[in-house]
Every structure is written in structure tokens, then in C-alpha cells.
């Protein structure tokens, strides 16, 4: 018998792997994706499938170019998570090349130029998203009418939009955040009522349900201990406080209600699926709280005062820059470095 010589510990948490973590994140997106599909048709799902396939190809190519083993890392699902998150953020009916550019940027420039999984300073999906947003603003701002106003597009429409964009007639509508940004002179309540069919019960037809679904998925991930509560709570608390302070009793120059901000656009998706990306966020719990809070403040500021209707992607990327700095100042107190006497 030959004796193995390995370092302790010799036992490991059963069923724990990067693959497992990524799988759980993917599972947790299901409620949100289903909600998007219900209100906006099958575009998102088809984009996710198409985007994931492309992402796997890009990942394999990048690994091969870098002279790495390209079989094992493909199995860790991390690139599928990146593709899924990007495709959820995209409008549902976009041409194939838009997805290809987005995925290419995410995987190659967001991830592999920095050294691949674990080395990327920025959230890869958000890198891809922001490149698309600033390069193709038209395509990136054309959200479909939600079910309840028009008919949600069908599968045929989805494939037409994807591969024959020129023959696809999109029926688009402004999102509640668009309406809010373009508002000038209307009281918040009046604005909401003037487009009652779009603004829906809380924060926009469809959008409140989509946000609730992502919130549900996020809470499940929290219970699975995939991440800690710090970043999401930091972001949602900061956003709530900013909205409460800036509401200005619904005046035309005010910042919109708390519920409007919490359940609009990418708030919950961002709070539980984007800023919780561990690689590019701060490392300590205190750091993650600050990281989340800063994203929340930026989201509010850009939504209310900025040029873009939503701001999760910008907020996250800006804070990715700041994460190493946050880490420097938020190191937890190590055992034995704080003085507590036995007699005290």
C-alpha cells in the first residue's frame, strides 16, 4: 500500500463546489426570468439560451488562446451565469449581433484579459451591458410593451427579432423609468396616473412583479448561504433612504417614491444578482455593506439626475473600482487584537 501525503484538513463540506454555487445562482434566476417571460414574451429565455451557447464558445476559445485546460473550467458554469445575467438585463427582442458583441465583451474583455475566473476586477456581465448601452442606445432602450397593454410576442416573433431584425416590427413602449426621466413639470402622482396602464399598481406594469420574483430568488440564495445579507441590504437601505429624502411629497422636481425606486427596473435583480458577485465586490461583511450602500446611492443619483433611465450597471462598475480601497479600510477585527480582559 502506498501512503498518500496530503495537507490537512482531510474532510470537506459535502457537495460544495464552484459548479454547485453557480448552479444555485442559475436556479435562483428562474422566478424572475419566468416573470419577464410572462409579461414580455419568450425573448429573454431565447436570449439566455443563445447567449449561453455563445459564451461557452467564447470561454473555450479564450482558454485555448491562453493555453489553459479548457474542459474543466467550462464545467464550472460561471460563464453561463455571466451570460444569463447579461441576457436578463438586455431588452428581450434584440438582434443576434447585439448579444454576440455583449457576450464577447463580457467574456473576453470583462473576464479573460484579467486572467479568467476569480481575477476580474469588474462584473463581466455589467462590462458587456455598459459597452452595449453606450454603443447601441437605440436597441438597448427598446423594451416591448408588457402583457396587459399589448399582446406579448410569441416564439416566432422572438426568433425573427433575433435573426432577422429588419423584418421584425417591435411594438415598444417606454418603461416607467423612461417616463420618470422624461417627466418635466408633472407631479409624481399625476405622472403615474397619466400613464396608468404602464405604471401599474406599484412601480410599473409587470416591473413590480419582475422585481418581486428576483427578490424571491435572492432571498432563496441568501438562505442557501451563497452570499451574506450585507450587500443587498446595504443597497436597498441606501436606495430607500435616498428616495424617502428626495421624494419631496411627489413634486415635479422630486425624486419619485420609495416603492417606485425599490420595484422599478433592475433594483432587485441588481441587489441580489449583480452586486453580490463576490469576485468584483468588497470582501469583508462591513465592506460589502458599504459597497452595496454606495451602489444604492449612485443608482438613485443617476436615475434622478443622470442621463440614463437606470443605473445599476454604472453604479456597480464604479464601485468595482472602489472595492480594493474599501477592503483596505474594512478589515474585520481579528481575534486577540481587541483588548477584552477576563475580569471586565
Amino acid at each position: 500500500m502506498s501512503l498518500m501525503h496530503v495537507s490537512s484538513p482531510h474532510v470537506h463540506k459535502p457537495v460544495s463546489s464552484v459548479e454547485q454555487v453557480m448552479k444555485q445562482v442559475l436556479l435562483a434566476t428562474i422566478p424572475g426570468v419566468l416573470m419577464l417571460t410572462w409579461f414580455f414574451g419568450p425573448g429573454t429565455i431565447i436570449n439566455i439560451v443563445f447567449g449561453s451557447a455563445l459564451a461557452l464558445a467564447f470561454e473555450a476559445w479564450a482558454l485555448w488562446l491562453r493555453g489553459k485546460d479548457y474542459k474543466t473550467p467550462l464545467r464550472d458554469h460561471s460563464v453561463i451565469v455571466t451570460a444569463t445575467l447579461l441576457c436578463i438585463a438586455l431588452p428581450p427582442y434584440v438582434p443576434w449581433w447585439l448579444i454576440a458583441v455583449g457576450i464577447g465583451v463580457s467574456v473576453l474583455l470583462g473576464k479573460h484579459v484579467f486572467g479568467g475566473l476569480g481575477y476580474n476586477p469588474f462584473n463581466p456581465a455589467m462590462v458587456g451591458y455598459v459597452v452595449l448601452l453606450v454603443s447601441f442606445p437605440l436597441q438597448m432602450s427598446s423594451w416591448t410593451e408588457p402583457r396587459g397593454i399589448g399582446e406579448a410576442p410569441g416564439i416566432v416573433d422572438a426568433f425573427t427579432a433575433l435573426f432577422a431584425a429588419s423584418s421584425y416590427d417591435a411594438v415598444t413602449a417606454a418603461t416607467p423609468l423612461d417616463l420618470f426621466r422624461q417627466n418635466s413639470g408633472m407631479l409624481f402622482e399625476d405622472l403615474m396616473q397619466s400613464k396608468a396602464e404602464l405604471t401599474g399598481p406599484i412601480a410599473g406594469l409587470g416591473w413590480d412583479w419582475v422585481n418581486l420574483a428576483f427578490l424571491a430568488g435572492g432571498i432563496w440564495l441568501l438562505r442557501q448561504r451563497i452570499f451574506t445579507w450585507h450587500a443587498p441590504v446595504g443597497m436597498l437601505t441606501a436606495l430607500t433612504m435616498c428616495a424617502a429624502l428626495g421624494y419631496d411629497e411627489g413634486s415635479s422636481t422630486g425624486g419619485g417614491s420609495v416603492l417606485f425606486h425599490l420595484f422599478s427596473g433592475a433594483t432587485m435583480f441588481g441587489a441580489f444578482f449583480i452586486i453580490t458577485d463576490p469576485v468584483s465586490s468588497a470582501v469583508s461583511n462591513k465592506g460589502r455593506l458599504i459597497f452595496g450602500a454606495m451602489v444604492g446611492i449612485l443608482v438613485y443619483l443617476i436615475r434622478v439626475h443622470g442621463n440614463y433611465p437606470d443605473a445599476v450597471a454604472f453604479g456597480v462598475l464604479l464601485l468595482n473600482f472602489a472595492a480594493p480601497l474599501i477592503d483596505q479600510y474594512t478589515q474585520p477585527t481579528v481575534y486577540g487584537t481587541k483588548k477584552v480582559g477576563a475580569d471586565e
Binding site: M1, L3, V11, S17, T72, L117
Partner: protein, 507 residues
């Protein structure tokens, strides 16, 4: 009820303690040969005082302590010394060390052991000397010389003695068994220890997964009014000295310090018994209770083993199926190390020999990239940031490693246990700690050589100055003489002239 406190982090690995049937102990068969390393403790090796061919008896000292931080080694039974040479010994790095091999004669003849009639009448120094001569080193697994720990004279004094029966490592039930079977002896030992260090409180600490041991200890503790049994929730690594102190006293041992700094002393139950036996019966440490377990054994359990028994024989008496195992561990699965040679002996710190099957503890999985998920930081009982330490260890960034308190890592392995990327984190930390220690030594060394260099430089300058001064003084004297009119050259010429003139007159 004493209030207990929680520690940061911690994990719940499968315990698998029932396998070794805690509460029962049997004698291991007498081996034909014993191999006794001269270093079974932390500190300087003991020096053999027997020679090959000597006959030795049980309890006889065969190697004496060298220096203050060292303990002697005694023969566990009678026989003949057949070799004194380097052999493989249990060590995380797979080192060899000088070992004394004894071929046993099977008669188990002992030298007379003399105990103290009343240890209360002895001075602390005398008691310490007995502890030292009995070869007692922390039997929980650390192996630090007990006499040194007991002798430490802090201004604050020791107020609390903790008998650490936590035993949070999975699989191991040696302490559990000892507490169930020898509770009274433990409490007697604790009384002696408390007397020696002047502790006012004795806490008998046990995790709540050992109710039988807690009951036995409670019963025994009735005999000692300063003693109290404290149980607390099972969580790894509650048995770490620092963690246990936080659980029981809500106090933290300062970074880089020892429990005595805050008036606490921790001892393992086995060590308490060893101290008791040394003082009351005059018996040195020659045997210990070891858990022999794992699914590749037919008959796992706790054994009373002679120190020096080869691990191979211990495993064989427990029905070892070598084909189903590919590693044997010295210690538990969280902090134990792999045995590289089955001829290695059981030593004072061997609390467990674990022979798992390949399915029970599978080979390590390939390492994946760190995704900074932070599960390690959640699990770390020292509140470190293991993922940051890992990056800094890889980057060999010593400044950041120190800033992130690498040296406060207790190597419990909780971080690596939860790591979804299967990174052997503890291995990185051990190696990085080694480099930090080396750097610190290097600093001291370069400091020393700078001091030496400067001293030499100063001495050379001093000598040069002294020579210069002497020369100047000689020159000054010569000049003074010249001034005074007695030029030495002129005088010599005069002398020669006078001599010549004298010769001429004689002729």
C-alpha cells in the same frame, strides 16, 4: 448555570465519533519492539542516557531533558536497547529523528516508582521538578512541556484553570473516554494543577455531544468545590485554546500572547491525569489512550497504548484492511497529518490514528479558481479574511500578510473545509507563515550582523586612534629631547668618537 459565549465562524463537520465507541478502553497487545523518539514534545530533543545493549525496565528514564524547554523519555516496559538511530517519526513534514529502539522481553518489569504522601506539603519548585522529570508534555496534541506552562510566573497570576475536554475534532473520542472512565483522576489532577498555579476556579469544559462524559465529570467534580462542569454547543473548533477561552470567559488572548497573559491556564484531561500520576504515584508518562478508528478497521475503538508502539501494529490489532485505505492520519481529519511510514511510533501527542477508506475520505479534488465567495471568512474562528490571505500568500506580499494577521491563524482548516474551489488554504498559510518567520529571523540576523559590523568598525577606529596617539606621543617626546639639546644621533656619534679615542689611547 454559567453564561457561555459564542465564537465567530466555526463549522459542523460530520462527527463520526460513535464509530470508536467512546467510553470503552482496551489494552493494545504488547508489541515486540518499541521505537521511542527523543522529541515527542515542543522544544529541545532529550539526550539518550542508555546505550545499545543496555537492559532497561519500565519507568526507567532512557533520555534526559536537555535545557529548560525539554522533557525526558521513559521506557514503557522492560527489554533491551537494540538501536539508537534516526527513524521516521510522526511529524507534519515527515521528518526523521533520533529514536531509541527497545526489544521487549515481555516480562514488563518496572523500576520502583515513588510518589508523594502529601503533595500539599511540597514547594511549587519541587512539584514542578517532578512534573518535568515525569516527561509530561501537553497530551492533547500540542506537546508543549507542561512544567514550563505551569511555571510561567505572570504578575497577574492564574485565576482560572480550564480542563479542555472539548474534543471538537471529528472521529476522536480519546478525551471523551478518559473523562468517562477516569473522571475522578482528572479532578484530582485538576486540584493539583489549580494548587500549583493558584487558580481560584476550575472549569471542566465539555462539548454537549458528550453527555456521558459530562455526567461522569459532574459526579467527580463534587469532590472539588472550586470545580464546575461547563457544557456548550458542539461546533468546530471550540476546542482551540483561544476559542474555548472566549466561549467560557468572553475574553480573548491577545494576539501573539498566551492564555496566562489574561490569567488562564488550559490543560487536557490526559495531562491532568499524568500530573496526578507523577505526583501521587511517581509514574512517568509511558502509555496513553489513543483512538484507533476509520472504516478500514474491523475493530475500531480506544486503546491504552505503550508509547513507541509502531502504528502498523496498533492498526493490525484493530483489524486493518490496508487495501481499502490510501491514507493513514495521525490525529483527526481536520488538523491531523498523514503518516508517511506505518513503522512510525505512537508518541505522547498521538490522540488518534485514523485509517479511513477511500470512499470515507476521498482523495483531494482538483483546485479551482478562488471566486472570493467569502465562505471562508464566514467560517474563520479568528475573524481573519482567508481569501485575502490566500491572494497575498500567492503574491508573497509579506507586508499585507502581516497586516492581515496571518500569524493569528490557528490552522484549524475551517476555511478549507467550506471552500467550494477546494483550495488547500491551510497549506498556503503554513508555508507563508514559515516565510514570515524566516524573514523575522533574517531581520534579527541582519540586525545582529549590523551591530557586529558597527562594533568592529568602532574598535578598528579606536585602535587606529590609539596607535596614532602613541605615535604622536613618541614623536613629541623625541622632539622635546632634540629641543633640550640632546639629539640622539649626535649623542651616538659622540659615543662612537669617545670609544674610538679610548681605543687609540690604549694602543
Amino acid at each position: 448555570m454559567r453564561q457561555i459565549f459564542d465564537i465567530h465562524g466555526g463549522i459542523h463537520p460530520p462527527e463520526r465519533k460513535e464509530m470508536s465507541n467512546p467510553g470503552w478502553v482496551s489494552d493494545c497487545d504488547m508489541p515486540s519492539k518499541l521505537v521511542l523518539p527523543v522529541t515527542q514534545h515542543i522544544g529541545a530533543p532529550a539526550r539518550p542516557v542508555v546505550e545499545v545493549g543496555d537492559t532497561v525496565f519500565g519507568g526507567q528514564m532512557i533520555a534526559e531533558a536537555q535545557g529548560p524547554v525539554s522533557v525526558p523519555v521513559h521506557a514503557p516496559s522492560s527489554g533491551t536497547v537494540t538501536a539508537i538511530e534516526a527513524r521516521a517519526v510522526p511529524h507534519a513534514s515527515g521528518l526523521t529523528d533520533i529514536c531509541i529502539e527497545i526489544s521487549l522481553d515481555g516480562k514488563d518489569e518496572w523500576v520502583g516508582c515513588e510518589g508523594l504522601d502529601n503533595w500539599r506539603n511540597e514547594t511549587k519548585a519541587a512539584l514542578l521538578e517532578r512534573v518535568r522529570l515525569a516527561g509530561i508534555a501537553g497530551l492533547g496534541g500540542a506537546g508543549f512541556p507542561t512544567a514550563i506552562k505551569l511555571a510561567s510566573d505572570r504578575d497577574s497570576g492564574i485565576h482560572t484553570l480550564i480542563i479542555n475536554g472539548t474534543e471538537c475534532e471529528p472521529y476522536i473520542t480519546a478525551d471523551d473516554t478518559v473523562m468517562q472512565c477516569f473522571a475522578q483522576q482528572i479532578v484530582e489532577g485538576a486540584e493539583i494543577l489549580a494548587h500549583m498555579v493558584g487558580a481560584e476556579t476550575v472549569l471542566l469544559a465539555i462539548e454537549d455531544n458528550k453527555p456521558e462524559a459530562a455526567d461522569a465529570m459532574r459526579q467527580a467534580a463534587l469532590a472539588l468545590d472550586i470545580a464546575e462542569v461547563v457544557t456548550f454547543p458542539t461546533k468546530y473548533p471550540s476546542g482551540g485554546e483561544k476559542q474555548l477561552i472566549e466561549i467560557l470567559l468572553n475574553a480573548q488572548v491577545p494576539s501573539g500572547g498566551i492564555p496566562a497573559d489574561i490569567g488562564v491556564l488550559c490543560q487536557n484531561p490526559n495531562t491532568a491525569i499524568a500530573v496526578r500520576d507523577a505526583l501521587i504515584h511517581g509514574k512517568p508518562v509511558t502509555h496513553r489512550i489513543t483512538t484507533v478508528t476509520g472504516m478500514s478497521l474491523k475493530d475500531p475503538g480506544n486503546r491504552r497504548v505503550m508509547l513507541g508502539t509502531p502504528i502498523r501494529e496498533l492498526l493490525e490489532t484493530a483489524g486493518f484492511n490496508a487495501d481499502s485505505a490510501d491514507r493513514v492520519l495521525h490525529g483527526g481529519p481536520m488538523m491531523g497529518f498523514t503518516v508517511t511510514d506505518l513503522d512510525m511510533p505512537v508518541v505522547k501527542i498521538t490522540n488518534c490514528v485514523l485509517a479511513p477508506t477511500r470512499t470515507e475520505i476521498p482523495p483531494p479534488q482538483p483546485q479551482q479558481a478562488c471566486i472570493r465567495c467569502g465562505m471562508c471568512a464566514e467560517a474563520c474562528p479568528a475573524s481573519l479574511l482567508p481569501q485575502q490571505l490566500y491572494w497575498y500568500a500567492r503574491a508573497k506580499d509579506q507586508e499585507q500578510l502581516e497586516r492581515h494577521n496571518l500569524m493569528d491563524c490557528i490552522e484549524c482548516g475551517a476555511c478549507a473545509f467550506v471552500c467550494p474551489s477546494h483550495i488547500p488554504l491551510v497549506q498556503y498559510y503554513r508555508s507563508a507563515k514559515g516565510s514570515l518567520r524566516e524573514a523575522a529571523r533574517e531581520k534579527v540576523r541582519s540586525g545582529n550582523s549590523r551591530a557586529r559590523f558597527e562594533a568592529r568598525q568602532e574598535r578598528l577606529e579606536r585602535d587606529a586612534a590609539a596607535r596614532e596617539a602613541k605615535r604622536a606621543a613618541r614623536k613629541a617626546a623625541a622632539e622635546a629631547r632634540a629641543q633640550a639639546g640632546d639629539d640622539p644621533v649626535q649623542a651616538a656619534i659622540e659615543r662612537v668618537k669617545a670609544k674610538k679615542a679610548q681605543q687609540e689611547t690604549q694602543q
